[in-house]
């Protein structure tokens, strides 16, 4: 049965300038079980230091780039991806 109050823990990985801005390489967030990438980003941006992140950073779910409306499930690996600079 659907329970809107059900919470899950989402671990968000942070890298490079984003990790520096938030002072952590990962965050554990309590989120509703039907949350989206956009909602996860909003929760990260509410953290101290996160005002220096862009409003819509690149996000990966389970090692692939994901859109804001992608639903995040319990156990998914979510990562905020700063502007890439390889090469």
């Amino acid at each position: 049965m659907y329970d809107a109050t059900l919470l899950m823990t989402v671990t968000v990985l942070l890298f490079a300038s984003y990790a520096d801005a938030l002072g952590a390489a990962s965050l554990d967030l309590e989120m509703p079980s039907d949350t989206t990438v956009t909602q996860v980003v909003a929760a990260v941006r509410a953290r101290p230091g996160a005002q220096r992140l862009p409003a819509a950073p690149l996000v990966a779910v389970n090692l692939q780039y994901a859109n804001g409306d992608r639903v995040v499930r319990d156990g998914d690996e979510v990562a905020l991806i700063p502007p890439v600079a390889g090469g």
């Binding site: 490079a16 300038s17 520096d20 862009p54 090692l63 692939q64 700063p82 600079a85 390889g86 090469g87």
Partner: protein, 148 residues
């Protein structure tokens, strides 16, 4: 050979990479090397730390090499990207392409480096001669980690 894409934490050996794409079928074998430059945007650079989201970077690199192989009609593409602390002149990335013909070999090499820069989650923090360090943001926005 199977397309090859690797993240390494040791010096890149370009000759070994070339050996992986040189075959009797390939009339053109080319190598692109990216190296740490001593100046960036007017600032004296003494070294670069390369960091990555390693699981995703490896899978994106593999996907680029595999897509490039289909797009340009060769199985012989090999890429290595180095992570960790590099000094000026160190090789950060090497792309070797073997193809029967040079036009496609050059095009494939160029395509691979542009795709790598566009989508592989690797970041670099430059060390400057004045002792400061900053994450490079190719989009030109101020770095999120920079002092306000």
């Amino acid at each position: 050979m199977t397309p090859l894409a690797t993240l390494v934490r040791r010096p890149i050996d370009p000759i070994s990479l070339l050996g992986r794409v040189a075959t009797p079928a390939n009339g053109a074998v080319i190598l692109f090397l990216g190296a740490v430059r001593q100046v960036n945007e007017g600032r004296a650079v003494t070294g670069i730390d390369y960091a990555a989201y390693e699981g995703m970077a490896a899978s994106e690199l593999e996907s680029i090499v595999s897509d490039g192989a289909s797009k340009f009609g060769t199985r012989d593409i090999a890429v290595e990207h180095r992570l960790g602390e590099l000094a000026v002149e160190d090789i950060s990335v090497a792309i070797a392409v073997g193809h029967p013909h040079r036009d496609a070999a050059y095009a494939a090499s160029r395509w691979v480096i542009e795709e790598l820069k566009r989508r592989v989650p690797i970041w670099k923090r430059e060390h400057y001669a004045d002792g400061t360090r900053e994450w490079v943001d190719p989009t030109g926005r101020p770095s999120a980690g920079a002092a306000p």
